[in-house]
């Protein structure tokens, strides 16, 4: 196939630009919200000093100028201070605490969801497992999250945000993220459906007659679709992480994003969005590399037969 490498290269290019473009887009989107955070602190009609505050927070020259200034500072490792989420605290400090939590949360959940996909692909997890996963996945993340949060609070009381409870919150968060909203079941079902559809193809039947393992024949064709499915699932997990972190009150990037957006704390939102963009870029790059490997090695057309 000519040009098969175009898409993976495009993905790599997109992955490289995501950490720059996504924060700019988020800045523009959040800027569209009515009012501005300086106005919330000090409405101009009833309070003086708002103009100085807007200047201090660089809100007086438009979203592009704001983003440029932010980017310039960010490249020097300076992310400013939170305006409202945790007023006065350096954003870098907030991220330092939040990023590992989200990495663990999404990473562990991603691993389990990937295993679900592999289980569906290999047949290790069959129809019964899928039905069970779907049954559990009926429960929304909010419900399971509230149950977990309530249990932890009842168990630990005033120490509900201490180190022990924090570990349990993370474990609960992973469980909720994987099980709720049909994440695990969906990954399993998607892989099984794609595999079943591919298994029905004639070439697979021919391969079986030849005594070959069906999976060995199907995998090169299935791989791009499954990698795409997996990436979509992981992106879905990133979204789900926002809800899980907020409900379980986990200090994570998703919680910062949500709270920062509600409170119009632009510095926090854009910094957190950049972290999310980096996560997405890593996933995108991984998908591109997988496609390059599949296209270049696994599905390589023998010499002399190139079309």
């Amino acid at each position: 196939m000519a040009g098969w490498w175009l898409r993976p290269l495009l993905r790599l290019g997109a992955a490289a630009t995501l950490p720059l473009v996504v924060p700019a887009l988020v800045a523009a989107v959040v800027w569209a919200l009515p009012g501005d955070p300086a106005e919330i602190i000090c409405p101009r009609s009833t309070c003086t000093g708002g103009a100085e505050l807007a200047a201090r927070w660089r809100l007086d020259a438009g979203p592009w100028a704001f983003y440029q200034a932010w980017l310039g500072d960010a490249l020097g490792g300076e992310f400013g201070r939170s305006w409202r989420v945790l007023q006065g605290v350096p954003v870098a400090e907030l991220l330092t605490e939040a990023v590992p939590n989200t990495l663990v949360l999404v990473g562990a959940a991603g691993l389990l969801v990937t295993l679900a996909g592999l289980g569906g692909l290999t047949g290790a997890l069959g129809a019964r497992a899928e039905a069970l996963a779907r049954a559990v996945g009926v429960a929304p993340a909010v419900l399971l999250g509230l149950l977990a949060a309530a249990s932890i609070e009842l168990r630990y009381g005033a120490d509900a945000f201490g180190p022990d409870a924090a570990s349990w919150r993370l474990v609960a968060g992973v469980a909720v993220l994987v099980l709720a909203d049909g994440a695990f079941g969906g990954a399993l079902a998607g892989a099984r459906a794609a595999t079943a559809a591919e298994r029905a193809a004639r070439y697979v039947g021919v391969a079986v007659l030849r005594g070959e393992a069906p999976l060995d024949n199907m995998l090169p064709n299935l791989a791009p679709a499954l990698v795409g499915q997996l990436r979509a699932r992981l992106v879905q997990l990133l979204s789900g992480a926002v809800v899980v972190e907020v409900v379980l009150r986990l200090d994570g990037v998703g919680d910062l994003l949500w709270t920062g957006t509600l409170l119009q704390d632009f510095g926090v939102v854009i910094a957190a969005a950049t972290v999310f963009a980096v996560f997405s870029a890593v996933l995108l790059a991984a998908q591109a590399v997988a496609e390059l490997i599949i296209g270049g090695v696994v599905r390589r057309v023998p010499e002399g037969l190139a079309s």
Binding site: A139, L143, G190, A193, L238, V269
Partner: protein
């Protein structure tokens, strides 16, 4: 389950949910505090809430809030995926590249932030799930397009089309029947069903988060309630001695109905 049985089940769920949505009262009935927390056998069919109001009203209102927008989002994503798959068969590299680039950028935006901003931009009286569902569909579409395009490419893409043309089939038949209906159908219906469910779960999450953050509802008028209210009313019964288990069962049951319906639709659309 046969495809016909699955289709019938999906239709039945749609009719049930649609009937609920259509019969939803515009506002909740008057409170009767003396009838608070009655179980279904004392206040059929589903019992009452903390203000003595029948839970069926909340169930119906919740259905009216999420059914239409989630179905719309599912249909739009399925459509986008179909178009993406068909576009892959056109052998237009610039189109593929353009779709890929836009898709990667859109697909990588933090969805909850975009949805939240969209919700906050709507004036208070105009809040509904529909615009958020459309935003969600737009954010999910790239992934669906990607998968459908991968399926189309596995078929052979433009060469598959050429081969069918060589058989004398017209463009419409090739693209609509052979590609869309016969080959892309399972994946686009599955993608659409997933997005339908995602929007339903999204509504529950947003409803709860709005309430928890002292915000006006992000997904519906403040006059109506959603299935999130059933779940948040009911969940303490699992950890505390609170008589709200019937609300939890109803909320989970409603979600299960939706899951069964979407799953049945996927089964009905699977490849022969």
């Amino acid at each position: 389950m046969s495809r016909r049985a699955a289709a019938a089940l999906a239709l039945l769920v749609l009719i049930l949910a649609g009937g609920l949505a259509l019969t939803a009262p515009g506002s909740l009935p008057a409170a009767e505090l003396s009838r608070a927390y009655l179980p279904p056998w004392e206040a059929p069919p589903f019992g009452t809430d903390q203000r003595g109001r029948p839970l069926w009203a909340t169930l119906a209102q919740g259905a009216s809030v999420l059914l239409g927008p989630s179905l719309l989002a599912g249909v739009l994503v399925a459509l986008a995926a179909t178009l993406g798959g068909l576009a892959r068969c056109l052998a237009l590299p610039w189109l593929d590249a353009g779709i890929a680039l836009v898709g990667e950028l859109v697909g990588s935006l933090p969805r909850m932030v975009v949805v939240l901003v969209a919700a906050l931009l709507l004036p208070g009286g105009a809040r509904s799930l529909t615009p958020l569902a459309l935003v969600w569909a737009a954010l999910c579409a790239p992934g669906a397009i990607d998968e459908a395009a991968a399926v189309a490419e596995r078929l052979g893409g433009a060469r598959f089309v050429e081969a069918l043309r060589a058989h004398g089939f017209g463009w419409a038949r090739i693209f609509l029947l052979h590609l869309a209906v016969r080959n892309l159908r399972p994946v686009v219906v599955r993608q659409g069903a997933e997005v339908t469910l995602q929007v339903a779960f999204l509504e529950i999450a947003l409803s709860y988060l709005a309430q928890a953050d002292d915000q006006p509802s992000l997904t519906h008028s403040d006059r109506v309630r959603s299935w999130a209210d059933l779940l948040t009313m009911g969940y303490p019964s699992l950890v505390l001695d609170v008589p709200t288990g019937h609300a939890l069962a109803l909320g989970v049951g409603a979600m299960a109905l939706l899951v069964v319906g979407t799953h049945a639709a996927v089964r009905a659309a699977r490849a022969r």
